[in-house]
């Protein structure tokens, strides 16, 4: 067990390095001068030179990379060109809405998708199952922003039940926050629960075809016991896996959803930074999002040990 955990923890290191190197190289692969890119369109020659010196862009590439990695290791993600604030501070200010949106979507999707997937597989071939298959293909075919606008039109503009746009922080009260995040979470859940339901259904079908289910049946176990004791226990690993692998899609969806609903989170920060060519912020957000993704996948892998005793050996 501890062997597995240690090996998995160590495997994060090369991945993190590749992410950092990619993000670092991002500025250098373009056709233009990185210093001019960072300085923005209206910068004077002196400003560009100042940035070149401050960010060590006049040094050899390897030395720059080393300095960059060492800064990141010291939690220094640089400063915003636009506002002059430290990038890390800007990101931390925007974490809450993004985290609330991601977590609420995750909870909502799992609550919807796992029972649907299990039910669909249990009644494979029935009308419910067909509906599930169709719904899940539609769920990840319709773009997040189209779903968002349809929901806003129906539930905010016509029905007036929920706010059209905007975000209320947790400090303004839990219910206020929940109300402001309901439509965005439902929007994003379409995509995420479609992915999870599909995998849950496929896995459940496989599990139901296993010998031990037949054995349980032969021994006279009733449907409920088979479902709860024998089948559900074994879909844990694949379902958790798909949550991990589709987390990237969830984060991508968060960026778009924040844009539709005008939520001042990390996604908006990224898009605004891109539009103002504030590259240190773009790099910082990429690093933070990637590290979150790496951490989630690490937790997913470690949870295998929890769900599946075979991994522990």
């Amino acid at each position: 067990m501890s062997n597995f955990v240690v090996r998995r923890l160590l495997s994060v290191i090369p991945i993190a390095f590749i992410v950092l190197i990619t993000v670092f190289l991002l500025l250098h692969i373009g056709p233009g001068d990185p210093a001019a890119l960072i300085a923005g369109e209206n910068a004077t020659r002196d400003q560009i030179e100042a940035i070149r010196e401050r960010l060590f862009l006049d040094r050899p590439l390897l030395e720059q990379l080393f300095l960059y990695l060492s800064n990141v290791a010291h939690l220094d993600l640089g400063q915003s060109v636009y506002s002059g604030f430290p990038v890390l501070k800007l990101i931390l200010q925007r974490v809450e809405p993004t985290a609330v949106l991601a977590v609420s979507t995750l909870i909502l999707s799992v609550l919807i998708a796992v029972p649907m997937g299990v039910w669909g597989a249990w009644r494979a071939g029935s009308a419910i199952d067909t509906f599930l298959i169709v719904a899940s293909v539609v769920g990840f075919s319709v773009p997040v922003f189209v779903i968002g606008y349809v929901l806003v039109d129906l539930f905010a503009l016509r029905a007036g039940w929920l706010p059209v746009q905007g975000y209320k922080p947790l400090s303004s009260g839990f219910w206020n926050c929940l109300r402001s995040i309901t439509l965005p979470s439902i929007t994003l859940s379409f995509l995420f629960s479609a992915l999870v339901a599909r995998i849950t259904r496929a896995t459940m079908l496989e599990v139901l075809a296993e010998d031990y289910i037949r054995t349980a049946r032969a021994k006279g176990a009733n449907n409920r016991r088979i479902l709860i004791v024998h089948a559900l226990k074994n879909i844990g690993v694949p379902v958790v896996t798909v949550i991990g692998t589709s987390f990237a899609a969830l984060l991508g969806g968060v960026v778009i959803t924040e844009s539709v609903f005008n939520i001042p989170g990390m996604g908006r920060l990224t898009v605004d930074a891109i539009l103002t060519r504030d590259y240190p912020v773009v790099q910082g957000v990429l690093i933070v999002f990637s590290f979150v993704l790496i951490a989630v996948n690490l937790l997913v892998d470690l949870s295998y040990a929890l769900f599946d005793p075979r991994v522990r050996q």
Binding site: A124, F140, A209, R217, I274, L275, L293
Partner: protein, 285 residues
């Protein structure tokens, strides 16, 4: 316990109705015709008409007009070209690079170690974020958008092809080919690649669908293809500020985009049902 229902055992997976596949093919045919002939017949719909701003759908402008008085119908029909181009080109680029990397990695262990580590690293960056960062660094334009969308998709395809090749590599006929002295390139090209084509074509459909969605998302966020050439994404983006006043600017291209991606995904699922070795094994047993 009157109904002994272990559905997976008693009934094979029901064949999905052919209707869905036929409708998907029909929808794709229409979209491709729009992509080819739309701009020739209707132009790009760039004519500004201040008198016709934000008009709802009518006999003159079937899908209504946008904030600059441009005809949304014309822009949607002609916009198919951009979306189809991005989808197809991305699929080709991703399959060529990702597929090759995957096949080579699946066959040579030392390549495998390098390529898969790189793939792990790239896949750790959320795709759409990497794509918008790439577009902003490389500058806008159709080619840049295709590159930016391809880069995050390549590792996924490489990984899939690698696993397919790994399973083919263990089959007896490969051992047989090695033992009669076939050269490695011959084994790869004559025996491994043809057997991987099925899964590759499945992957092609998914990449194509994902690319069309990504292009729309990039345009929606303001970093996609330039607005003087319409694409579904940038038509939708142009309606973003006006969706309370003029929902039709988003509705029609959004609907078409959804139908297109849905059709490709339905065809992809059908192909997968045919080619996925795991499903085939289940059917055979």
């Amino acid at each position: 316990m009157t109904t002994v229902s272990s559905p997976a055992l008693s009934k094979p997976k029901p064949a999905r109705p052919g209707v869905a596949v036929s409708l998907s093919l029909l929808a794709l045919a229409v979209v491709i015709l729009m992509a080819i002939f739309g701009p020739l017949v209707f132009g790009l719909g760039n004519d500004l008409n201040p008198m016709m701003r934000l008009k709802p759908p009518s006999a003159i402008a079937w899908f209504g007009t946008d904030n600059l008085g441009r005809d949304v119908f014309v822009r949607t029909v002609s916009g198919a070209r951009n979306s189809v181009t991005v989808g197809l080109c991305t699929a080709i680029v991703v399959l060529a690079i990702g597929g090759t990397l995957g096949v080579v990695a699946g066959y040579f262990n030392w390549v495998d170690r390098i390529v898969m580590r790189l793939a792990d690293g790239l896949m750790a960056i959320p795709g759409i974020l990497l794509a918008i960062a790439l577009v902003s660094v490389l500058g806008g334009g159709l080619v840049t958008v295709i590159i930016a969308i391809s880069v995050p998709e390549i590792p996924r395809t490489a990984r899939l092809m690698r696993s397919v090749v790994l399973s083919i590599r263990e089959l007896p006929f490969i051992t047989a080919a090695i033992s009669v002295g076939s050269s490695t390139p011959k084994i790869l090209l004559r025996h491994i690649v043809p057997n991987a084509i099925g899964m590759l074509s499945v992957q092609a459909t998914y990449v194509c669908a994902a690319a069309i969605l990504s292009e729309a998302a990039l345009s929606f966020l303001g970093v996609g293809t330039p607005p003087d050439v319409p694409s579904w994404g940038n038509v939708i983006a142009s309606g973003k500020e006006y969706f309370r006043l003029a929902p039709w600017i988003i509705a029609f291209p959004g609907l078409l985009l959804s139908i297109m991606v849905l059709s490709i995904n339905i065809l992809g699922d059908r192909l997968r049902d045919r080619f996925d070795p795991r499903l085939a094994a289940r059917r055979a047993s």
